[in-house]
Symmetry: C2
DNA sequence: TTGTAAGCGTTATCAC
DNA sequence: GTGATAACGCTTACAA
């Protein structure tokens, strides 16, 4: 064999017209059972496969979607992207995964490319700035859903996010319940909307337990890898600190090892809870408590909505919050 | 505006023919400087973008490649995929990232889909079984390169891999140099080619230091999450064990926490070295030594080769080994 | 129930 | 240096 089989080849081989073959393949229109069998047999024998470029061109639909993700080597992102991709594949869509590295220019370049490739929909994950689709010059706007990223114009998208506020609130509150008197929050210096929500949850849990939030004493921003000194300093100034709610597990792990290095006993002296429930949490010593996001649910809801928007069976303007779950392990007992 | 601009629109708006517009866009064939300016101006004003479906159909080329990866939430894979995708994007290619979950059926389904979408090339990462492209019925075989995965037929691909053997050898050897008398290897139960190479490196380092490899005493297979008991047992039977070379950092972290739980002091009682140099290695306590793969290099070489194969400027049959580097941290001092 | 043919947006061949 | 036009493989009126 010397070239790929086309519908025309199948038509000739099975003695029908291309139109009929197309109808059989897509199971639309009418045709006799006999014809169906005949055509399918030839398709099977030849191993014919649809040429999607042609199909896309004709139908103006690509059966592909693009995902913009800030950092695919981050566990949470990788996990949710992986699940989305799987569900999309099972529903006949393929996925362009684009790693924006939190770079706005890159993001725009990717969007242009995705538009040019004719993706049917867009999934936008996280990122610091509000997402603005109007940068695209596509006239018939590509439908998109946002995960954890507030869009500039909420009315033309679906927003999906974990209940970061509640997760942070529950985690912090559980520190109090475990006996902490003065927990603090350890965060990074990016201000994504999820980070803001988590901070608010922390603050409200503080005030519920009779403490006022003071950013100089109740918060530490972990920037460099050598955070041990920063933590040491803060602990010396505020010896009453006896708990950490970390905005993610990477920071939690960082804090944990710093504290161990400073000779603290965990959880006896200081308790820690992280966020995202990364796999290595069960392998840290002590095992790390964490707030788990329901990535299965997030992925499912995301796919349902983007395909819904593509098929015009879903509507924009929705905002969906997915519950989270606090996983208690040794670090906060 | 109500529909996307096509070349035809650009042609009308700039008063030339579609052929000329195409020539200008692709900068091939001849046209006057004046025409070029005129056309480009219209393109800029309209925000015209190539319709890739049409271009693909006509040229029988899609400017896209597919990546088969076993598990994108594994740090090493995510990292190398991310870098490959970035370089490909900069060279005008977009990437379908397919998570096979080490499932052969899924893999085949993905391959069929990628073939159908008309990808120009394939990048196959890792996996236990040898890769067999002949499962595809594409006549004009799609070029592919393999990373860390031995292809069934080596002659029609390019094989790229880290020097797993050397990494394992160096790591093990350095355990001896640090004073270990009886190091063992901690591995998983998958037999990828890289795992085999690492095991061989370990064995040879053992024999170089006068020890014979005995799988019942020099090797532990970490299967479940509750590996602490297994390790405890082995240590009781073989109290001379004073070093672990773990086949990856996940297992290393697992071993490390188990040992701490068993009251061992690291690195005083037992030293540990992992593989892959994951980011959290510097956040474990003690910090974890590890063999670092050169993902930048791997990604660059991979892209050079796959594009080379696509453009017929590279040849198959090559086998490229990328050096690795042992990063010493506290766990093996 | 099936066939014919137009057309999707490109590129490439050929003519001028 | 430029323009007509065929062709890529498919879907879908419209005919039969």
């Amino acid at each position: 064999m010397n070239k790929k089989y086309s519908i025309k080849d199948i038509a000739e081989l099975s003695g029908v017209s291309v139109a009929t073959v197309s109808r059989v393949i897509n199971n639309n229109g009418r045709f006799s059972e006999e014809t169906r069998k005949k055509v399918l047999k030839v398709i099977k024998k030849t191993g014919y496969q649809t040429n999607f470029s042609a199909k896309n061109l004709r139908m103006n639909k690509s059966f592909s979607v693009g995902i913009l993700v800030p950092d695919i080597s981050n566990y949470f992102f990788a996990n949710v992207v992986q699940k989305i991709e799987k569900i999309l594949f099972n529903r006949g869509y393929s996925t362009f995964i684009c790693n924006t590295a939190r770079d706005e220019n890159k993001e725009l370049a990717y969007l242009k490319m995705l538009e040019s490739k004719g993706v049917d929909g867009l999934i936008i994950i996280s990122g610091a700035k509000a997402f603005d689709i109007s940068k695209l010059n596509s006239p018939n706007k590509i439908p998109f859903v946002c995960i954890d990223r507030k869009p500039k114009d909420r009315s033309n998208t679906v927003f999906i996010g974990s209940d970061h506020y509640q997760g942070a609130f529950d985690a912090t509150n559980s520190l109090f319940q475990a006996g902490c008197k003065f927990p603090i929050i350890a965060s990074h210096n990016r201000s994504s909307s999820s980070a803001v929500d988590r901070l608010n949850g922390f603050k409200d849990a503080l005030s519920k337990n009779g403490l006022d939030f003071d950013s100089s004493r109740n918060q530490i921003v972990i920037t460099t890898n050598d955070s041990t000194n920063a933590i040491d300093l803060l602990l010396k100034e505020n010896p009453q600190i006896d708990g950490f709610f970390a905005i993610n597990d990477s920071i939690a792990t960082n804090v944990l090892s710093s504290l161990l290095r400073l000779g603290k006993e965990i959880p006896k002296d200081i308790k820690i809870i992280g966020f995202d429930d990364e796999p290595q949490d069960i392998h840290s010593y002590p095992t790390l408590s964490s707030v788990k996001q329901d990535t299965d649910k997030i992925a499912q809801v995301t796919v349902d909505n983007i395909i819904g928007l593509i098929d015009h069976t879903a509507i924009t303007g929705e905002s969906i919050t997915i519950p989270v779950k606090l996983i208690q392990r040794d670090s906060s007992l």
